[in-house]
Amino acid sequence: MSVPALEAVNLAKSFGGVRAAHDVSFSVPGGSLAALIGPNGAGKTTLFNLVTRLYEPDAGEMRFYGRPLAGLPAARIAALGLVRTFQAARIFPGMTTLENVLAGAHLHVRASAWRQMLWLPGARGEERELVRRADALLDLTGLLPFRDAAATDLPMGAQKLLEVVRALMARPRVVLLDEPAAGLNDAETAELGSLLRAVRASGVTVVVVEHNMSLVMGVADQVIVLDTGAVVAAGTPAEIQKNPRVIEAYVGKEAA
């Protein structure tokens, strides 16, 4: 069996008396699309923050292609190929849409600052290549008309999409998307769905936190259900839809 792209082993984290995650284990095979779902406060975002080391876990371990992530700073984790987006779109204000996307390619800028400063042909050529890739991604997601606008002028849905595009510019091996469909209308959500499929088809492993059930059930290979900081179920969308514990977590006991 091959090494999973992302693996959580008995992760635990408490804030004061609140157990935001306890004994969370799951594994995401390379090249698949996994969705983390669960009611508000189930610990989905906490899990993302543990993975990308915004939080230090109290116990347990995260592994990225078998490599423990403990002790690595956020920038190193990104350099390994694990890139995330944030629940509230954190695009960079004061920069255009294109510049935001290009900032995502930071890890792939090979020319040193010195060569950029001296306008050396290598550095300029690399820059043109990055712009070409950025334009292609913007075109794919329908953001091209906003290319040179200030990124903060974009509508909320476009900003969320922009953040996904920016993360993809980093050419991650695994991308973690925190509620990418929040604030998107139905058409935009459908577009996001096909974008996610395309990303997976290109070999990138996707882990997505999402509330939108039709999106999740439509695209995910594996659904992991969290409730009150613990994994209550994991399986294919079809299995999850029939799982009584999932229905209980979402609808409540009486209904189940």
């Binding site: 990104a78 890139v83 004061g94 600052a113 400063m117 306008w119 550095a123 990124a151």
Partner: protein, 625 residues
């Protein structure tokens, strides 16, 4: 032994005043999350007003003191209501720091206009004769200082802990949003805290005035001491700020008494760096410090204007052509000032990389001008080095200082870089004043040779002009190349959102350090050219006033635009030269323009220019919190 006791007592008295200023800092910081650099200026406004009432108008001491405190508090209320409080809800914390730097300059400039530049002294409240206690002679004014401080501390404690108003203030400090939801009028509480801090500073200034000679710009010393005391004691901790003040006062007096007065200022930096290294949160940490980083600008607000392709080339060529013909248009008498404009612009270019692009506030840019300027000038004047080698030596020394400072501060969050650069600038300034043998002391270093490379001498303003213009063109091109590529994008990402930047693999500390080194190098080069151009360098040419002036130039011209600050530099350098009678109002105007630009013109003059003239289709970027 007796001398040691006297020194310690002197230090405690001085420290008491520092502590009082620091208390005002802590109060405003707790309630608003902003550092108020104008705090120290209120001390001097109080003292100068006291002088006017007591000495000029001949009022009795108690009436003069009451009126002076009233004037200071009123000034605080007016400034708070018109600038500080309305700005607080719109500007990021770092812009507030710049705004209050502008307020400090404005108050100093206003004091200069009203009271002139001469030093003042006040008679002690209870006569000159010291009191002898157990063989130790104590100045009677000491009792007034300690008494006033005790009254202030007791009053503030009672207000915060025992009254409904104090509860409301503390609620604002803990969580302004929740406080607002509870029906607390947060802007009014903020104004109250700001005014109260001004009043406290006024009382402190009046109490200490009789044992000190003061003038329009003495306030900045109180600001620096108070700011340092707060950082040493624990940012936001009221007890800590008083303790930090006492520690600083005693340390400074001991250093002045036993080592050299030269190091009295240096000791503040040493204590500060020691604190940052050992206990970054200060000796007595406030329960929690909220609103952290240097420039977490989710609330950025300035036009995003980009010149691309043909338009950029046309604009660039036009600018170079204008530079080439300028000497034939400018009247010869103005040529010197035009060269100085260019030299200062080099330094401000560096400041723009640091502040405008990377979002780190530096209050000590002139300190690096001093390092570069003095190193090059001393080596060329006294040791016969070629000017170019002198410039290189200055660059090496400046870069070493920049790396050392950023190693200490870069992993810390908060206003620490601003604080460290402030202390650094002050240290360099006091070294330049104190090391008379090498630097020529306060009257400056004379006989600096003109700049020359081999047989080519740049002794005339015209030759120097073309040299500086060439340096600027090269520097702008180099910086533009970097800033329009991955390097610049990484800096801007760090400026606006460090967490998101790190999540994209950007090594945040490394980019902060690179920006700081770049700004130090530009300042160093600028300082060297300055000395070679004027054949002279004195501490006040590259002191704190210059640092603050360059911030004003940058913000008024337009930060984050690279070339925009030229508008600010030209405006603030050439106008006072052309209209000599305005020179008196220069400081005041600088401060006022800075405050107005921060409040109403976030893109600076260049922002307006770029939007209206160069790129009419661009819209300003607006984003809510």
């Amino acid at each position: 032994m007796e001398q040691a006791v006297q020194t310690v007592i002197g230090g405690l008295l001085q420290g008491t005043v520092f502590g009082v200023v620091a208390l005002g800092f802590a109060l405003v910081f707790r309630v608003t999350g902003a550092i108020n650099l104008s705090q120290g200026a209120f001390c001097i406004v109080g003292a100068l007003a006291m002088y006017s009432f007591q000495v000029s108008l001949g009022w009795p001491g108690w009436a003069a003191a009451a009126a002076a405190v009233g004037v200071t508090a009123a000034a605080g209320a007016v400034i708070g209501a018109t600038t500080f409080v309305p700005a607080l809800s719109r500007l990021p914390v770092s812009s507030m720091l710049i705004l209050t730097a502008g307020l400090l300059t404005t108050l100093e400039g206003l004091s200069l206009v009203v009271w002139g530049s001469q030093p003042y002294a006040l008679p002690p409240f209870s006569g000159e004769a010291p009191v002898s206690v157990l063989g130790v002679r104590l100045p009677t004014q000491g009792f007034w200082i300690v008494g006033a401080a005790a009254a202030i501390i007791a009053g503030v404690w009672f207000l915060l802990m025992r009254t409904a108003l104090g509860r409301a203030l503390r609620a604002c400090a803990e969580n302004p949003t929740a406080a607002r939801l509870m029906g607390i009028d947060v802007p009014r509480m903020t104004l109250f805290a700001f005014t109260l801090a001004a009043l406290i500073a006024g009382i402190g200034g009046i109490a200490v005035a009789p044992i000190l000679s003061f003038q329009f710009d003495t306030g900045r010393l109180f600001t620096i001491a108070g700011f340092s005391a707060v950082a040493i004691g624990g940012l936001g901790s009221l007890v800590g700020s008083v303790a930090g003040g006492e520690l600083l006062g005693v340390a400074e007096q001991l250093a002045a008494g036993y080592i050299s007065s030269l190091f009295a200022n240096g000791i503040a930096l040493a204590l500060l760096i020691l604190t940052l290294l050992v206990r970054p949160s200060g000796l007595l940490t406030a329960k929690r410090t909220r609103r952290e980083d240097v420039r977490d600008e989710h609330r950025i607000y300035h036009p995003v204007v980009r010149l691309r392709g043909r338009r950029a080339v046309v604009f660039g060529l036009g600018a170079v052509a204008a530079l080439a013909v300028l000497p034939w248009i400018v009247p010869p008498g103005l040529m010197n000032s035009v060269v100085i404009t260019g030299i200062l612009f080099i330094s401000v270019l560096g400041l723009d990389v640091l502040m405008g692009y990377c979002g780190q506030v530096s209050l000590g840019q002139a300190g690096f001008m001093a390092v570069g300027g003095y190193t090059a000038a001393i080596l060329a004047t006294n040791h016969g080095w070629p000017p170019l080698a002198g410039i290189a030596a200055g660059l090496v020394l400046s870069l070493a200082c920049a790396v050392a400072l950023s190693l200490v501060t870069m992993r810390l969050r908060g206003h620490y870089l601003a604080l460290a650069t402030l202390a650094f600038g002050l240290l360099v300034e006091s070294l330049a004043v104190g090391m008379t043998e090498t630097t020529g002391g306060p009257s400056g270093l004379v006989g600096v040779p003109s700049f020359s490379v081999g047989p080519f001498d740049f002794g005339t303003p015209l030759a120097m002009y073309y040299l500086v213009a060439a340096v600027i063109v090269v520097l702008v091109l180099v910086l533009l190349g970097g800033l329009r590529s991955g390097f610049g994008r990484a800096l801007q990402a760090v400026r606006t959102d460090q967490t998101a930047a790190a999540a994209l693999g950007i090594n945040v500390p490394r980019y902060k350090m690179a920006a700081f080194a770049a700004s130090a190098a530009a300042a160093s080069l600028s300082g060297s050219l300055y000395a070679f151009h004027l054949n002279f360098l004195s501490p006040d040419m590259v002191g704190l006033a210059r640092s603050l002036e360059m911030i004003a130039m940058l913000v008024v011209g337009g930060e984050g635009t690279l070339v925009g600050s030229l508008f600010g530099v030209a405006l603030l350098t050439l106008l006072p030269t052309i209209f000599q009678p305005l020179a008196l109002y220069k400081t005041f105007a600088e401060g006022l323009l800075l405050v107005l630009a921060v409040r109403y013109l976030p893109g600076g003059i260049f922002g307006v220019f770029a939007q209206r003239v160069l790129n009419p289709s661009a819209r300003p970027a607006r984003s809510a919190a």
